[in-house]
Symmetry: C2
Subunit: 414 residues, 2 copies
Amino acid sequence: MQSPNQPLVDNRDVAEMVETLAGFGAWGETGVNRLVYTPEWLAAQDQVAAWLAEAGLEVERDAVGNVWGWLRGTDRGKAIVTGSHIDTQKPGGQYDGALGVVAAIAAVKALKETYGTPRQTIGVVSLCEEEASRFARTNFWGSRAVVGAIVAGEADKLRAIDGPTMAEIMHDLGLDPARIPDAKRDDIAGYIELHIEQGPLLEEQGLPVGIVERITGYKQFWLDVHGQANHAGTTPMDIRRDPMAGAAEIISGVINTAHRMGRPAVTTVGRMTVEPNGRAVVPERVGFTVDARHPNEEQRQLLLERHERLWTEVAERRGLDLQVRVDSDRQPCECDPGLVAALAGAAEAAGIPSMRMNSGAVHDAMQFSAICPVAMLFVRSRNGISHSPDEFTSVEDATAGTEVLARALHAIAY
Amino acid sequence: MQSPNQPLVDNRDVAEMVETLAGFGAWGETGVNRLVYTPEWLAAQDQVAAWLAEAGLEVERDAVGNVWGWLRGTDRGKAIVTGSHIDTQKPGGQYDGALGVVAAIAAVKALKETYGTPRQTIGVVSLCEEEASRFARTNFWGSRAVVGAIVAGEADKLRAIDGPTMAEIMHDLGLDPARIPDAKRDDIAGYIELHIEQGPLLEEQGLPVGIVERITGYKQFWLDVHGQANHAGTTPMDIRRDPMAGAAEIISGVINTAHRMGRPAVTTVGRMTVEPNGRAVVPERVGFTVDARHPNEEQRQLLLERHERLWTEVAERRGLDLQVRVDSDRQPCECDPGLVAALAGAAEAAGIPSMRMNSGAVHDAMQFSAICPVAMLFVRSRNGISHSPDEFTSVEDATAGTEVLARALHAIAY
């Protein structure tokens, strides 16, 4: 039995696995471009499976290509599972998703080496897809398969940015889309995901680790503002029905609304299209996204009501035709108090400073919450950057997070 | 000799020529898609040449494909010229440009039939290109050739939206780009262009005809607003450097500035690009056009100063990096008081109600102003619409404008 403050996790394990995994789909000096079901992704999943086998876990591949490793417990009940995803943005960095898989392997390997067989089965999962980077409309392909949330026929409808459908791509890899329902599991008692923060809050506080209490709720809209296209030189300002003027007012308004509501409310306009998009033409149509998030459901509803009142008022006053499409609408996800307490206790026992926080990003853990209690552990992101080759988390912070994960799993499963 | 109020121009001439010309590049029921140097454009220029020849004019084609018709006067001095362009937007309508060529032919034909040989030579011109619809960066190809404003090597640099360079396309038609300087003329004493208004002012006033005193000055900018790309969920509003927030504030600001300055100030943001243009990403960069116009130079400078102060202030306050590129900058063009008076006198003599006005659009006449006095005559546009298959001018209004043009040419050249 080791002393309470002796680390369980070897930081060389974490560093080597991060570096090795980053080699699959390496993009420039520090980037990774590893889209689901590509050759580089296949090689990375094979590497994960090899590490799991080397660590003495029982390896399983499911119907969508998620890779699982099982450290069987003496009690044959449901498992506590930890992991994340290995697909990336195009290009992304070395840590988003990948670090959660590496930490899971390193933690369970350390537990097995130090403590042997657990009471409760511990699972490690490397999920196949989370980023929606190859298929624009399907993030969470891996975790949605696990919770049974992929609808029949979905694989035939999803089309990759490189052309073929999800079903065609799966067939080429020997995965049968008809068997997707087989990936659904009922043997998971809880899910803990370690992930880079992707934000600046831990860095602001000078802390390596954060324990997530809530994952944000969000609502995503597409607003289409229609006006009257006109010649830019000949149409007086006072009689224009200019959708660009309306869009600019709405965009300023929703951004200011979230800013004034204060942290953690956030609203973002990230995508826009203009028609006809000519220099000397008052546009006919301006379309744009609005992504509004709050981890508190009551506050989220207040934010959304303010946004909707604002854009309705602007469109009416300006004589513009506004069409609003809701693309997603998800309530905040509460992390399980027991799992949160286990993480907090583990951080304290390890002497690793941490804070409670919310997740402004969405994660596979949100999907798992449909079938089991979930929790998340964040590690510090340099400059809060993610979805970029510039994303960086130090080996020290990554190992600190892994240590907390390992100790929490020990408290739960041994 | 006819009586003062008997019309010179036959409205059937105008109607038939408009309809025939619209057949070259017809697009749907009422549109025309006739880009410079295409087969449909070639056929239209041949038709114009045939009409000029039928009317008894001496036909000339110059080095860029402008078609000229000359009604030689007894006095061998410089000519008074009228005309416009026959290329269109993609698609445009039947009147923008084409009506000025039709009116010129119909007016000169009527003058020759009624009054015979003039004292001063009268020229009709069908200019090859004005719209910048096939080559994004070259409007006024025809009129710039006439005034000698095409720079050496320009034809090699301009690339058509369909692929080849201007030089390659000209070669295929038997036009030698090296001979472009031959199109420059020094035999023009004045240029009068009839054009559809492309705006709503004549319709607002219930008048068929407007006499242009000034053609607007304009300045066109491309603004690049750089900020910091960030995850839409994890970056608090208060620490974002969001170029979309800055762009929206600038766009609202410049539009409101022009609106408050009142007619005829106009400012338009018609084109925008966003990078990376992702729903869940605070953008890295937002670029957009600003097109600001005023026919009074002092007021134009005031408008521009306000715009520049505004966007500088917004960028500084928001910590955004702003790069401003000037794509064009042109002072207002004053129409010649003598030609304006000739047009006003002609309208009065014909009993056709008219008003003095400015042109908010730019025209070939602006180019001609580099070598001779110019004037313009506007005819009413239904709903102010142009650059669209919906553009419409009645035969009555088109003929009224042509009648004023014919009487003014008579006053000048006979």
